[in-house]
Symmetry: D2
Subunit: 433 residues, 4 copies
């Protein structure tokens, strides 16, 4: 027989013994005391909760990877920054992400006087995330190339750490990175110089995020057939876009890249992917007025609720053609490759976080008489997951290493082909994992 | 070159041709018209949405199973009822489940004057679901045994159809069925006769649902060690329970079965599963006052938000001992077996619904130039899922067939052993599927 | 010196005396006990809350008015019905009104697939209010004229009692009554016979409520200049309405009366009040499809949140002309008079309820050493309010008495003029009160 | 006959003329065009909305008051600051107040693991308001006395401007000012020095706000009889408070002043106002842990929803006695006087804002053929309100002028008596206005 803590602790037995002598009132008191103590005691019987620490310092595989691959001088600087960043994530960024979770974006279509305003209200914490992204150079790092071919990998590591502690802000960053890459690969033409500078800025005042408006109502994977948006050339050389974009993530962004079909003088346009061209547009003008865009509604999503995803009507939105005519799909493929890599980053970071929490919990939680970590089947399960995420992590690192080489013209032809092959495969594979 | 529908339909080309002659104002009108027409046109370009029909009539496997197995007379009656029920699900029950989704339960701990009330407000639609469950005999059918050993299977089929169209009400039904089974297996002792009659009633006025309060803060799978609730015997032979229940689904139920440790005169109680006894309690008394129970909060769940799951303090709740002392785990195992079967029902029903919607959608949705159903890889994927769900369905049917035999003393010893073995395996397996 | 209940009740003093001998652990227990008891004691120190009873039985002025004025036979029937209705309000209707408060209407503009649906979802309790209104004959009573000239007064008394216990459902009833009155005063022309029967039905299945769409964006009091809606005659003699209604209460109604300007063949229409004609329209067709109406949004109101008030686009809504051309304002004035009276009913009922609660509270609440009712200044304040509401009540009764006479052709010319004068004055005056 | 703009503008008449010749399809197009144009046209028919400007520059009475009363040098500095502040209110502070309105405080009683946390989550904008209050010296100004006897008036003017543009943050400032005043009037004893420095700091990092916990469940105006909280002296000279505070505004404050009854060794305490003493306490300790305080719930208020008002259990909260024993009511009267003045400030500022918006609107809104401002009755109404608010404003200014004199020992005895008399009268009078 074990002893029943609830009643024996703290000498309450004696009071129970006196019960017979006391009148009803005292008895009530004692029973209440007992209830109270019962409550007090059980209040101690909580499970401990898993606690993440500095996610850089605790990630031995990441640290050993960096140690093995980075040149010593780069390693030293990067290590210092990542340690600091790891603390920053824990103490500042994680709480902001919780605030974002509590205050999802709110869409207001009309003002009190009935005027259409289409205002997407985001919370202060979300806007602070944007500033932090600039300050930490989460996009800039990859384009400044301070560490030559290692800059891309360094950026990816920061995004990897950022991903699990920043709620939904990884998504606008993915598209922002993709847009910067597209513009860079177009040689940063003069009309896009300002945009490029802003996308890759470390200055929170200047920093822009970009949307990527691909999906239309009939689209999805089948961009070539599903894109119905029409572009009509204007006398000044710009275009006006007409159409409906069905799923535009980060609808609070400053600019967007999007596909449309250019109509000829007779109003004809080419179907299929050969008809698609790539356009750049600002979402709002300098006064904050929408660029002939109407927001139909925000998506009522199951997850990623921190981020405003909208359905948009383009009703003559001014845009600039930035690919060759009919070469839109080719031009945007750079964006897709970058966002695919961000997808891999997010997938691996999530897996890493889950295992990290599970492992911590296994050291605290008792079931069937011992800690979870002392149950062989539990350890086996975690071990299998650990192996899987390690493989995925190394695949990710190799992809961004190759990308870094390619971006600094250090990649062999085979490495370039390998990179091209690995990106979609890794996205699919880690996404399913 | 294809023609760009947006601009050529309905003779707008000519207006475009007149553009040069018109002044600015007219031009504006025309552009607006164009915008408007663009909008009109794209408004037609929706995907069709998958539409479920009568889920009984469309389920050929279910119908062929019933045809093969049920005696002709039973089949005839059952078929009529299920066809009617299938229509009822589509037109009445499904809309109620949407209303439940829109109006999840709300917990109010205090009234305006500061008094603790612990009121869980459920919406009218949820309360209507309870009435429907009684009217349809979703529990009663299995205990009335109108069709002898086939009654349990017939009940399971109704629950299977009900499951995907009724939002979260399957959960209270599972526990209600389990409680009825426990009481039946105890021989329906006199003090539980009223409860049994209500749990198995077809009268909405009489019908009760039951909770199953198993999980405590340190519990989970490890009921034997995780249960801390203490029961103290009262002079009148009833018990008062003290403890904290961490996850009590369907907290708006009328009664509950729960485990606790009986304290002896010295306040000692036995640890481990040998210390656990099974208790029956009413949640509220006749006036609606809580039975010395406090609701700490409703769980903020990711899914099944229609149903109130609560954390409860038992602070001297009056309860009746219904198992032999120390035989609580054995006594409640009947409940667990029934709720496990309900879990299988829910899992198979969900898979069936998903495939049914996917299949319908594959006949409507065009991608890459043809319907999804004409893409071999898509068909292969659905075919694999279909095979899986068919297997799971037949496993479910066999379990409830065996259960029906066992409940009418028609099962051989081997069938009884098989049933015992299959239930937990099927729960795990279909749950993972 | 008074005694400090918190510490002396229930012999805790002795435990305090033992404090020195006990080690830290025991001390903690005792302090906790003390905290606990402190809590228990203060838990008793609540104010009592005011409780309304049967609002008919408790309203001595109302009862004495009826006794004085109604013929004995009418009084007998009416008394029985009102006593029953008073209980029904307390036990059934009041709880429904709280449920309506908890579940305000929700507007859904698009379905999940992007189709515009403009669905205003109201809760079950709100829909139940509509059924009760029919069952209780809250509109029917005035048109059936079972009690000749007293029927209108009887209806008004029921509405008066209903008003404070039914949340926001008085509003649709006011407009429904007004619409019935307009149709009746037009002689119930054949095309409106069905509508009239439904508005005045006691059958919940048949019963319709009506909206009154007056206010446009530039309107408000100035209907004559503020109404921009245009009506275009169709070959079949019906009209299509184009315009924007800025504040349409009870937007979930079945039908509406509204004003518009008829355009002639050249598209010209008359400005000012001479240009306004009255139209009848159904909000939805038999299949539930909106009658070329778009809901822009629900109003985000400070009060009356139970009721859906909407901004509506009429985009060719089919309507029937029911006044002479240009006589819209004259034709709708019957509606305005009825809704003005409903406004008086609501104002007087609210004042009555406030005083009734205040009076009850004054008998329960102690301040500065005695009950509120024993503070002369408090009694003076309530007495002044009581006098005011009595005057307002008698004014209301006299208006509906006169209306009853007028509606049964028993009113003298002077009474008719008096009625015409009193209605707007009473609306303004009781509204300000 | 006027012309019906909707149909004649922009040459649509001709298209209407062609209607007969066109087939059904074209007709549909034209009707749709018409609908579209109808919509476009009415889209222009909005009322203009009233727009507040710089509320200091536009307030001629305030400016003339300052000009008349302030010494020229003070006036110069104050004018510059107020003009800047007026702009800041318009462009920065007003938007923050809207964000606060959108994100009211959220109370979380338990964490995900079931631990009681009692966390009141306020939004970033609310926390920014606190920083701004420090930066602007909204409390500090009155205690630094840079402008001698004019400092208090200067502070009051800033609060007056701040009040209507800052949502609910005036409330914590009122109590913070009151707490500083109490501590100052006690001679800033050493244990309160830190608190005083923080309450009167301009440094956002240091700045504290204070609560004032007066109302208990039986209290209200009758503090003397309604206060049940008990204080028990601890060996170290501090006290522990036990009781329930029913309405504690700004429950997110850093500290509070509160009343309690000191229990003697026998656990007895004095009833009535003579038994009340004043205590100072910190709400949380340095680690953010609540000072033996439990938050029962946030009040579900009709207005001032931006601000967290809570019901609090004091369960042994550590506190310091800061008045003489039994002199609590006298000591806290300084706080009440200050908060009464803040009440006057808020009342006058609200009236001023309402009239300012009404006046602007009267210059924009047309009804019955002319602007509101050209309707004599409308102007008369506004003029009466204007006179009323001017009187109230001058009363407020005179009170804070006298307070400034009293606080710098420049007030005559008569002025002191006048001040004492005016404060409660002005609070009552302007509050009712």
């Amino acid at each position: 027989w074990g002893s029943c803590q609830m009643l024996t602790i703290k000498g309450i037995n004696t009071t129970v013994g006196q019960e017979q002598q006391a009148g009803m009132k005292e008895k009530q008191v004692l029973e209440d005391s007992e209830m109270h103590l019962a409550r007090r005691d059980t209040e101690g019987l909580f499970q401990e909760q898993p606690e993440p620490g500095n996610q850089y310092l605790e990630d031995t595989l990441l640290r050993s990877y960096l140690k093995t691959h980075l040149p010593p001088k780069v390693l030293e600087e990067v290590h210092q920054d990542l340690e600091r960043f790891g603390n920053h994530l824990l103490t500042k960024i994680q709480p902001l992400s919780w605030e974002c979770e509590l205050n999802p974006p709110v869409f207001r279509q009309f003002d009190a006087w009935g005027r259409r305003v289409d205002h997407i209200h985001t919370c202060s914490a979300w806007r602070r995330m944007k500033e932090i992204s600039a300050e930490e150079g989460l996009i800039a790092e990859a384009y400044e190339k301070r560490y030559s071919n290692w800059s891309r990998l360094y950026q990816a590591v920061k995004l990897y750490l950022f991903s699990s502690s920043s709620g939904g802000f990884s998504c606008p960053l993915a598209m922002t990175d993709g847009a910067a890459k597209v513009i860079e690969s177009l040689g940063i033409p003069e009309p896009l110089k300002n945009a490029f500078d802003r996308l890759t800025s470390r200055d929170p005042e200047k920093f822009w995020t970009s949307g990527q408006w691909m999906t239309e109502r009939r689209g999805g994977s089948d961009v070539a057939n599903g894109t119905e948006t029409v572009a009509r050339k204007q006398p000044d050389g710009t275009y006006r876009l007409y159409g409906f974009k069905w799923f535009t993530s980060a609808a609070d962004s400053d600019m967007a890249l999007t596909l449309a079909r250019i109509a000829d003088a007779e109003g004809q346009c080419t179907q299929g992917s050969r008809g698609l061209s790539l356009f750049f547009l600002r979402v709002r003008d300098e006064e904050g007025k929408l660029n002939n865009i109407q927001v139909q509604r925000l998506k009522d999503k199951l997850g990623t609720r921190q981020m405003a995803t909208a359905e948009l009507w383009l009703q003559g939105a001014r845009a600039e053609l930035i690919s060759a005519e009919g070469r839109g799909v080719a031009a945007i493929s750079n964006m897709l490759n970058i966002t695919r890599i961000h997808n891999v980053i997010g997938a691996v970071a999530s897996m890493r976080r889950m295992i990290s929490l599970s492992r911590d919990y296994a050291r605290k939680r008792v079931a069937f008489g011992k800690l979870l970590k002392d149950h062989p089947l539990h350890v086996q399960t975690i071990a299998r997951m650990e192996v899987q995420v390690r493989g995925a992590f190394l695949l990710l690192m190799d992809i961004v290493r190759l990308l870094g080489l390619a971006e600094t013209n250090l990649a062999s032809e085979q490495e370039q082909l390998l990179l091209r092959l690995l990106i979609p495969v890794a996205k699919l594979y880690t996404g399913k994992q």
